[in-house]
């Protein structure tokens, strides 16, 4: 029964990890670029909420919407002004630029918010839970986060496959020059993809801030989880990313069941095992690129 509980909690945790991974997966699928500052951007979203919730006197949900909207605008601008020039000067430059951005963000956050960890509580909702039986209870927050992850991934998936813009995004992922020849400014499309990626990672950051807590240097840990989820699921596959997140989540909770230290190690071991056995991931390249 405790194992069943661990697996269920792992699935719920998987939702959070998939939210971290969705934006990575999208940007990699569309641009072939790994954003090393991805985790830090989630932390920025968390701190933005920590600062705005007491300042704005608005319902918390409204603040969350504002944070996600602000991060989406930032995503577009960062892509157009910082990532795009680096993309055009060779394959290694974006890695260096995003790594540099990660360092700058972490140090700015340390300067503004100190090294103390912060967390958000939104009343009874954060602590409440759905009791299934004496052993298993599902916290409302975890359920909401998993729901947000599934909805975000489904929205991105449907947007890519069914809308006119989604068609153009896939075309740009296939062949930038050919897309230019049908009149597409691919830089604008990259900006839109980055906006969506920043939006989903903002949701991840808000979720994390409520789920546990954040500190200025928490980003890279979650970047690695996100990266592992993307690779386990298969590069560029969005549903694979959700599956990857769930696999990692279960590894964490089952690992914790075995030994309290093992929880941090287990997901990385699972990741290495998957890399060794199936390096292309479980659902390789079905969505974008």
């Amino acid at each position: 029964m405790t194992l069943a509980n661990a697996i269920i909690q792992g699935i719920l945790l998987g939702g959070l990890l998939a939210l971290f991974a969705a934006g990575l997966s999208l940007l990699f699928g569309v641009m072939g670029v790994l954003n090393l500052a991805h985790g830090d951007i989630a932390v920025v979203a968390g701190y933005l909420a920590v600062a705005l919730v007491p300042a704005l006197h608005l319902p918390t949900l409204w603040v969350f919407l504002i944070v996600v909207a602000v991060l989406m605008v930032c995503g577009y601008l960062v892509q157009r002004l910082i990532f795009q020039p680096s993309l055009e000067s060779g394959p290694l430059t974006p890695l260096l630029v995003t790594l540099g951005m990660s360092v700058v963000i972490e140090n700015l956050l340390l300067e503004i918010f100190t090294a103390n960890s912060h967390s958000l509580s939104i009343g009874t909702f954060t602590g409440g839970a759905l009791r299934v039986n004496s052993q298993i209870s599902l916290s409302y927050l975890s359920l909401a986060i998993l729901g947000a992850a599934v909805l975000s991934l489904a929205a991105i998936q449907l947007g890519l496959s069914r809308t006119k813009v989604g068609r153009i995004v896939r075309a740009v992922a296939d062949d930038r020059d050919a897309a230019q020849l049908v009149g597409v400014n691919y830089r604008h499309i990259f900006g839109l993809a980055a906006a969506v990626a920043f939006g989903t990672v903002a949701l991840a950051g808000l979720s994390l801030t409520m789920y546990t807590s954040i500190s200025p240097t928490a980003g890279p840990t979650y970047l690695i989880y996100g990266f592992e989820a993307v690779v386990i699921g298969g590069l560029g596959s969005l549903w694979g990313t959700l599956a990857g997140g769930v696999v990692l989540g279960i590894a964490v909770t089952v690992g914790l069941l075995i030994n309290s230290d093992f929880g941090a190690l287990a997901p990385h071991l699972v990741f290495l095992a998957v890399l060794a056995v199936r390096p292309q991931g479980f659902f390789p390249r079905r969505v974008t690129a």
């Binding site: 006119k164 068609r167 020849l181 049908v182």
Partner: protein
């Protein structure tokens, strides 16, 4: 360069395009009257594809001007040229492999001008397409892919259609099939500029031919104005007398 008095839709003046140190197109000028077909011929590496790419905006010229209906397009970025009425069917087709046939065609409508071409009319012109519209474009044969690439370009309702290397890698019967649709295109008011290695094919469809050799124009005029030996000399870069005994 062209007969005076003709209304030129597309005009290129003194165009030079460099790929790094290499000068691919050197001081090329040309004019394409409304409703005509200009065939650019020349051997491999003569600069034909670079010339088309520069007109479509894929390559930035180091000097010279590109003018469409009196408007200077030289500094206009590639995607914006589609809105002005230039559409290129690129070398190697460059379809989007992860999109279906119909999705590929529909991408052409992204910045389409107002005009006669829409999905229904495309399907009328290529009757095999509707039945295979949900297939991945990567599954089509070379000739079918070329038809889809042309369809994608037509969806933009261009004023000038640029077609690169139609014959390359296609069976002759497939090439003839695609060229057979050219009169229909011209009838819809289109102006065509195409690049072709097959001289006989080019002469049979073009109203004018222009031959490039190592990036420079070596011959320009109506396809019936020249003897085979003259065209051959311009194509390979020999003087007409020296090549008089050779055959194509």
């Amino acid at each position: 360069m062209t007969d005076s008095g003709e209304q030129l839709l597309l005009e290129v003046a003194g165009l030079t395009v460099k790929h790094g140190q290499l000068t691919a197109v050197s001081e090329v000028s040309l004019g394409v009257p409304q409703g005509s077909v200009l065939a650019v011929i020349g051997a491999n590496g003569a600069g034909k594809s670079t010339l088309l790419g520069a007109i479509a905006g894929l390559h930035r010229p180091s000097s010279g001007r590109i003018i469409l209906d009196g408007e200077d397009l030289t500094g206009v970025p590639c995607p914006k040229r589609v809105e002005r009425g230039i559409s290129l069917v690129p070398e190697g087709r460059r379809l989007f492999p992860s999109l279906t046939v119909e999705e590929n065609i529909l991408t052409g409508a992204y910045r389409a001008r107002r005009g006669p071409w829409n999905l229904a009319r495309i399907y009328e012109m290529f009757p095999w397409m509707p039945g295979r519209r949900r297939q991945s474009a990567a599954q089509l044969s070379g000739g079918e892919q070329h038809a889809v690439a042309i369809a994608r370009s037509l969806m933009a309702n261009p004023r000038v259609l640029l077609i690169d290397e139609l014959s390359l890698g296609l069976a002759p019967i497939v090439v003839r099939g695609i060229y057979a649709s050219l009169p229909d295109l011209l009838e819809s008011g289109l102006t065509v500029m195409l690049v072709e290695q097959d001289v006989a094919q080019a002469c049979s469809v073009a109203t004018r031919i222009q031959c490039l050799l190592e990036g420079r124009t070596t011959l320009v005029g109506g396809p019936t104005e020249f003897t085979t030996a003259e065209i051959e000399a311009a194509y390979f870069g020999m003087s007409p007398t020296a090549s008089a005994g050779a055959t194509l």
